[in-house]
């Protein structure tokens, strides 16, 4: 609960820092504020309880997710490398909005009442709409912002209609009392069915699972790279925990109804995400389709045994986050010097000849791509392994076979950037990376490998 309060206050403070003449202070102070929030998260460690009249439920699992979300934000925002980029012409505003968005993410992973779910989603989403359009003069950024905004607001409307119908059926927004009602089976079946369906659709929109993924490639491509990294990691992690909480408590008595619907969504996400990525030439679009397919994998974990699902999601989102930060970080560094039509060049062949220019960046990119495709000895492999072992207890064994086939397809497109990087025919201009970037790449790459060798490190927390 404390990080919510501290981030709200420090977010406002950051806004005021924007008035100062020396804007160089804003960035280190924001990182300090995030570290403060990270420290305060652990005040409630081993002291589970409810806050704000049972609105928020805090336990060790949710604190672990708070820590992931805040650490991700620190790593991603550190990639902003000073303020020479156009989207950072007003650093204080963007860093403040990033802190506010974390408040939403924290509420989404620890809500115990549907009001808090709605508020968390909205705080996170509204902040992301602003960050997507951060590059005001860029038409692609504008297009991404309006698409994200219209789709996101539409999804919110659908989610709210679901919540209203759910309220009509059960008479409560509280997850605990709702799940008691569901066990008794005393809720109105028609309203309940409509409510659950609409709520699921709204949530699936937010985590960009197929067939509700249509906004993802455009938004990922158009948004400034650093905020693409921000939304593909934080929004995804928070969204999946929110989805898990709703499925494991409120929808508990529903069983079959959502399981079949869910299986279809998993199938579509896996197929559309992986087959869609095959033909992409833009690296950011490739990552967008890869994020759709990873949504499919994470949903697969939710289909199985609920007792292990949360730690599986924790591991998977950590693995995905580390690899994604590396990938977008390398893109940021390499694409800085190359422009096309007044905009950073972000095609996959951008990486051609990277091995000649900078071996370190090649290694970072290679390990991140290997982890995303699920090659052993990286965190991504164990993420997929835990998902499959979790889902094997469910009735949908055929889905696991589809998922394995699709991860074989995925290897093809994840190797495209690696192939380009090792292609010695290309010529790249000199790449300068500063020490902050080196530290971040070190953390993410080492994290990927350490989790790949000792996967029990994370799962032993619970």
């Amino acid at each position: 609960m404390y990080p919510i309060i501290s981030l709200s206050i420090t977010g406002l403070l950051t806004l005021f820092l924007g008035f100062a003449d020396n804007k160089k202070l804003v960035f280190p102070l924001s990182i300090l504020f995030l570290l403060l929030a990270l420290g305060l998260s652990f005040v409630d460690w081993n002291a589970p309880g409810y806050y704000f009249n049972g609105m928020l439920a805090v336990n060790n699992e949710s604190i672990a997710f708070w820590a992931i979300v805040i650490v991700t934000a620190i790593l991603v925002l550190s990639l902003s490398e000073g303020f020479d980029r156009i989207e950072f012409s007003q650093p204080a505003e963007y860093l403040a909005i990033a802190q506010f968005s974390l408040v939403g993410a924290i509420m989404m992973v620890s809500y115990n009442n549907l009001i808090m779910l709605f508020l968390g989603i909205e705080i996170l989403s509204v902040a992301m709409y602003v960050l997507t359009g951060a590059d005001k003069r860029n038409l692609r950024g504008n297009e991404a912002a309006i698409k994200y905004f219209l789709m996101g607001a539409f999804a919110t409307g659908i989610l709210l209609f679901g919540i209203a119908m759910f309220y009509g059926a059960t008479g409560s927004f509280n997850l605990d009392s709702v799940s008691d009602l569901m066990q008794e089976g005393s809720a109105d079946a028609l309203f309940l069915w409509i409510g659950c369906t609409f709520m699921l659709i709204g949530m699936l929109f937010k985590v960009s699972a197929a067939p509700f993924h249509l906004w993802t490639p455009d938004v990922y491509e158009g948004a400034p790279t650093i905020f693409t990294a921000f939304m593909s990691t934080i929004v995804k992690t928070a969204g999946f925990v929110a989805l898990f909480k709703i499925l494991s408590s409120a929808f508990n008595g529903l069983g079959e109804v959502w399981a079949i619907m869910f299986a279809v969504v998993v199938l579509l996400s896996l197929v559309i995400g992986n087959l869609g990525a095959l033909s992409q030439s833009s690296f950011k679009r490739l990552m967008a389709y890869s994020s759709i397919s990873h949504a499919g994998f994470m949903l697969l974990a939710l289909l199985g045994d609920h007792n292990n699902a949360l730690s599986t999601i924790l591991f998977y989102s950590l693995a995905y986050t580390l690899a994604t930060i590396s990938a977008f970080g390398v893109l940021l560094v390499v694409s800085k010097e190359r422009t096309e039509n007044g905009r950073a060049y972000e095609k996959i062949d951008l990486f051609r000849g990277l091995i000649k220019e900078n071996g370190f960046l090649t290694a970072v990119l290679t390990i991140s791509m290997l982890s995303l495709s699920g090659i052993p000895l990286t965190a991504g492999f164990w993420g997929k392994f835990f998902v499959f072992s979790n889902a094997s207890g469910s009735d949908f064994f055929w889905l696991i076979i589809v998922a394995v086939l699709m991860s074989a397809v995925a290897i093809y497109y994840y190797f495209k950037p690696i192939k380009e990087a090792f292609d010695r025919s290309g010529e790249l201009s000199t790449i300068k990376i500063n020490s902050i970037f080196k530290i971040i790449f070190g953390i993410t790459t080492l994290g990927t490998i350490v989790l790949g060798i000792f996967p029990d490190l994370i799962r032993s927390i619970f």
Binding site: L114, I115, F118, L119, E122, V126, Y129, V130, G133, K136, R137, L139, R140, N142, E143, A144, A145, I146, K147, F149, L150, A153, F154, T156, G157, I158, L160, F161, I163, A164, M165, Y167, G168, G171, S172, F173, P217, D218, E221, G222, G276, S279, Q280, S281, S282, R285
Partner: protein, 113 residues
Amino acid sequence: METQLPAIPDIIAQVPLTNYILLASILFIIGVVGVFVRKNAIIMFMSIELMLNAVNLLLVAFSSYKSDPNGQVFVFFIMAVAAAEVAVGLAIIVMIYRNIRTIDISFLDKLRG
């Protein structure tokens, strides 16, 4: 512990709950259709607001018939959040208008794979 729900006032009971649900559903569907059919960003935006207000009506109706104030509290949250969303949404639309002098979203086709 069984608490006795207070009786629904007559003035509310005169209109059956089904009517409210039907009206809210119709408003919601008009909103959904508006988002899909119209190309003007402002009109799409208005349609989304219509969806949110349909939800508000639905929540208030359920809340009255269940004699439970939670639903009405939720409506206040939706209104506040919708206002914040309007501020951001209109800012985005103004930003686009400054760049391309139109808010017809069919002119926004720079992003494709």
